[in-house]
C-alpha cells in the first residue's frame, strides 16, 4: 500500500512549505472555516429575515391575527418545550435501562448486535414515524386515554374530554421519545462501558450484587454523561418536525391537559404545516419562530457538549 510514495522527487529540502503542501493545507483550512462561516451565516440570515417578522403587526401579516409576534410565538414555544419535556420524562429512564441492559446485563457476545438493533431505530425516517404514529399508535392508545379521563379525570393533567382520535400531545411525546431513544442510549451505553473495570471489580469483590455494583460504581461515574445524553435528546426533541406535524392534531393555545383534542402546537411542526402556503410577511414571521428555535436548540446542545467535553477521555457517541 505504501510503496507508491516515492513518485515526486521534486523536493528541495530547504524549503519547508512545498506548493503541494501549501495547497493542501490551504484547502483543508478553507473547508474547516466553512463550518464556522456556515454557522455564522445561519444565524445572520435567519436574523435578517426575521426582523420584519418580529416587528410585524396583525394587519401586515395575516397569521398573527390580532396580536403581535410574541402573542403568536408564546403558545408555540410552550408546546415545543412541553412536548419535549414529556418525551424526555419517558425517554431518560428507558434509555438508561436499555443502555444498562446492553452494557452490563446482556451476554458479552450479544451486546454489540443488540446495540445495532437499537441503532436501527435511528435509521427510520421521521416521516415514517409520523405515519406510524397516526396509523398505529394513536388508535392503539386512544382507549387508554378514554379510560384514564373517565377514571382519573380529577388529576389536572388527565382532565377531559378525551380526544376521539388519540392524536394528542401525549401521543406526539411518545413518538418523540421513541425517536430520541437511540442517541441517548448510544451515549449512555458508551459511557457505562467506560467505567473503570477496577471500580466494578472492587465493588463485586466486596460482595456487592450486580445492581449494587452499578449503583456504587457505574452510575456515579456516568452521571455527567447521562445529563449530556438527556440534553442532546432534548435538543433533538425540540427540533423534531415531521413526526409531530403529522401525529399532533393541534388547535393552538396553552394548556397542560394530555389527552384532549385541544393541543398546543410546536414551533417546527407549525412551520412545516404553514410554510408551504405562506406568503408575504407571514414567511418572515415563520422564519422568526425558526430563529427562536435555533437559538434554544443551539444553547441546549452547546451546554450538553460542554458537559461532555469536560470529561476528557469521553469520545462522544455521535
Amino acid at each position: 500500500m505504501t510503496t507508491t510514495v516515492s513518485a515526486p522527487a521534486s523536493a528541495p529540502a530547504k524549503v519547508a512549505q512545498r506548493p503541494g503542501d501549501r495547497w493542501f493545507s490551504g484547502s483543508a483550512l478553507f473547508a474547516g472555516s466553512m463550518i464556522l462561516v456556515t454557522l455564522a451565516a445561519v444565524a445572520v440570515f435567519l436574523f435578517v429575515q426575521s426582523i420584519p417578522g418580529i416587528t410585524a403587526t396583525g394587519e401586515e401579516a395575516s397569521i398573527l391575527k390580532d396580536g403581535d409576534f410574541w402573542d403568536y410565538v408564546a403558545p408555540l414555544a410552550f408546546g415545543t418545550v412541553w412536548a419535549a419535556a414529556l418525551a424526555l420524562v419517558m425517554a431518560v429512564p428507558l434509555s438508561i435501562a436499555v443502555a444498562l441492559f446492553i452494557s452490563h446485563y446482556a451476554p458479552r457476545k450479544l451486546s454489540q448486535s443488540l446495540g445495532y438493533v437499537v441503532d436501527l431505530l435511528a435509521a427510520v425516517p421521521s416521516v415514517v414515524f409520523g405515519l406510524w404514529g397516526i396509523g398505529v399508535l394513536a388508535p392503539a392508545v386512544q382507549p387508554a386515554y378514554s379510560w384514564l379521563v373517565d377514571n382519573a379525570g380529577w388529576f389536572p393533567l388527565f382532565a377531559g374530554p378525551a380526544s376521539g382520535t388519540g392524536r394528542t400531545i401525549f401521543t406526539a411525546a411518545v413518538v418523540l421519545a421513541v425517536m430520541v431513544l437511540p442517541i441517548m442510549t448510544a451515549i449512555c451505553r458508551e459511557i457505562f462501558l467506560q467505567t473503570p473495570s477496577l471500580h466494578e471489580e472492587a465493588a463485586l469483590a466486596l460482595g456487592a450484587t450486580r445492581w449494587e455494583m452499578i449503583r456504587m460504581a457505574v452510575l456515579p461515574f456516568a452521571r455527567g454523561g447521562i445529563v449530556s445524553a438527556a440534553m442532546l435528546g432534548l435538543g433533538r426533541a425540540l427540533g423534531e418536525t415531521m413526526a409531530v406535524a403529522m401525529v399532533l392534531s393541534a388547535s393552538g393555545g396553552i394548556n397542560f391537559r394530555l389527552f384532549t383534542a385541544e393541543n398546543p402546537n410546536t414551533i417546527p411542526a407549525n412551520i412545516a404545516q404553514t410554510f408551504p402556503e405562506a406568503y408575504g410577511l407571514n414567511v418572515n414571521v415563520l422564519i422568526a419562530t425558526g430563529l427562536i428555535l435555533f437559538i434554544v436548540t443551539f444553547l441546549v446542545n452547546a451546554i450538553a457538549r460542554v458537559i461532555v467535553n469536560r470529561r476528557k477521555d469521553f469520545s462522544g457517541a455521535n
Partner: protein
C-alpha cells in the same frame, strides 16, 4: 420491606448451623421457570376472560400482566429464599430486561406496519409513473424517487469534500483555538433542527432571488448543512485511528506531508470513511422538513436541480397522506408504499455501509 426474613443470611453461624456456602440461592433455572409460570398464568386468565366475553385474548395486555407478575413473583420468592439484597438485584435485572424489550416494540411495530401496508401500493406503475394529471387511483412515485436521488447526490457532492477536508484539517493540521472552535461547532451543528437548516437556505435564496423561490439545489444545500457535521465526525474518528508510525515512516522517506495524507493516511482509513459517508447519506435521505420548505412539492418530473419545484420521497409520503383526495385509500396506499421504498433504501445503505466496514477494514495489530 421486611428486613431479614431469612435467618441464613445473618452473619453468626451459631443461629443457623446448616449454613453452607451455597445456601440460600435460587437455582439458575428459577427465574426462567418463574417467567414461564407468570406468562402461563397471565395467558390463562386472559383466555378465560376472553372466553366469557366474546373478544379475542388481548396480546398486549397478556404480555404486560405477565411481565408485572414475573417481577412481583421473582422479588417475593427471592426475598424469601435469598434475602432482600439479592431480591432487589433480581428485580432490577427484570426491569432492565423488560425495558429493552419495550424499546424493541416500536421498532418491530414500525417494521411490520410499513411492510404490511406498503406492499399493497407497490406495483410496476408505482415505479414508472409520476403523479402528473393523476387524481385518485393510479400514478406513481417515479418523480419523487428521481428527485430524492438527484438532491441526495448533489448534497453528497457538496458535503463530502468539505467534510473530509475539515476532518483532515482537524486531525493533521489543526492546532490552537481555531481547531478547538471548529470541533465544538461541528458537535453543536449535529444538533441543528433540520427545519432550521431548511429555513436558513430559504432565507439566503429569498434574499437573492426574491420570496417564494423553490429549487432542488436549495434542498441539496440544506441537506448538505445537515450532512457535513456527520461526515466530519465520522471521518475524524477514522483518521485518528491511523497509526502515527505510518505517517512517521512516510516522513522518514522524505515524502511531503500532503502526499503522506493522500497516499498513506487516506488509503488506510478509506473503508471507515466510506462507511461514515454512507451512514450520513442514509441519515439525510429520510429528511423531510427542509425539503418541504426548500424544494417544495410537485406532481411532475423535474430533472433540473436549478429550476422549479422538485418532489422527493419523504415529502411525497407527507403530501400523499396529509392532503388526501378521493378515494382516500389510493392516497394512503401510495404514502405507505413510498414509506416502504424509503425505509428499504435507508436500510440498504446502512447494511452496505456496515458490510464495507467489515470487509475492507484494515488489519490492525490487535
Amino acid at each position: 420491606m421486611t428486613l431479614t426474613e431469612n435467618p441464613r443470611s445473618t452473619i453468626s453461624p451459631a443461629l443457623s448451623p446448616a449454613t453452607r456456602l451455597t445456601s440460600g440461592r435460587l437455582p439458575q433455572w428459577a427465574p426462567w421457570a418463574l417467567l414461564a409460570l407468570s406468562f402461563v398464568i397471565s395467558a390463562t386468565v386472559f383466555i378465560l376472560l376472553a372466553a366469557t366475553g366474546d373478544a379475542s385474548p388481548d396480546l398486549v395486555a397478556t404480555a404486560v400482566v405477565g411481565v408485572l407478575l414475573y417481577l412481583v413473583l421473582v422479588t417475593v420468592v427471592s426475598t424469601v429464599v435469598e434475602g432482600r439484597r439479592k431480591a432487589t438485584d433480581r428485580l432490577v435485572t427484570g426491569v432492565v430486561a423488560s425495558a429493552f424489550a419495550l424499546a424493541l416494540v416500536p421498532l418491530v411495530s414500525v417494521g411490520y406496519t410499513v411492510i404490511s401496508n406498503g406492499v399493497a401500493g407497490l406495483s410496476a406503475e408505482f415505479f414508472s409513473n409520476s403523479m402528473r394529471n393523476v387524481v385518485g387511483e393510479g400514478g406513481g412515485a417515479l418523480h419523487a424517487i428521481m428527485g430524492t436521488v438527484l438532491i441526495t447526490l448533489a448534497a453528497a457532492v457538496i458535503s463530502i469534500p468539505i467534510g473530509l477536508f475539515t476532518a483532515i484539517y482537524l486531525i493533521e493540521y489543526g492546532r490552537g483555538p481555531l481547531a478547538k472552535g471548529i470541533t465544538f461547532l461541528v458537535d453543536v451543528m449535529t444538533g441543528i433542527p433540520s427545519i432550521v437548516a431548511g429555513l436558513f437556505i430559504y432565507a439566503v435564496f429569498a434574499l437573492i432571488m426574491g420570496p417564494g423561490v423553490r429549487m432542488g439545489i436549495m434542498g441539496a444545500l440544506s441537506l448538505a448543512v445537515l450532512m457535513i457535521p456527520v461526515v466530519v465526525r465520522s471521518s475524524e474518528e477514522m483518521l485518528r485511528l491511523v497509526p502515527n508510525e505510518l505517517r512517521e515512516a512516510a516522513y522518514a522517506l522524505g515524502v511531503p506531508k500532503w502526499l503522506t495524507i493522500l497516499k498513506v493516511v487516506l488509503p488506510t482509513s478509506i473503508a471507515g470513511i466510506t462507511t461514515g459517508i454512507m451512514l450520513a447519506i442514509a441519515r439525510v435521505i429520510g429528511e423531510t422538513a427542509p425539503l418541504l420548505i426548500t424544494a417544495g412539492f410537485t406532481a411532475s418530473m423535474n430533472y433540473n436541480l436549478a429550476e422549479g419545484r422538485m418532489m422527493t420521497l419523504p415529502v411525497f409520503v407527507y403530501t400523499q397522506y396529509m392532503n388526501q383526495g378521493l378515494p382516500a385509500q389510493a392516497y394512503v396506499d401510495r404514502a405507505w408504499a413510498a414509506a416502504l421504498v424509503l425505509i428499504l433504501i435507508v436500510m440498504l445503505l446502512n447494511l452496505v455501509a456496515r458490510l464495507i466496514a467489515k470487509i475492507f477494514a484494515p488489519a490492525t495489530g490487535r
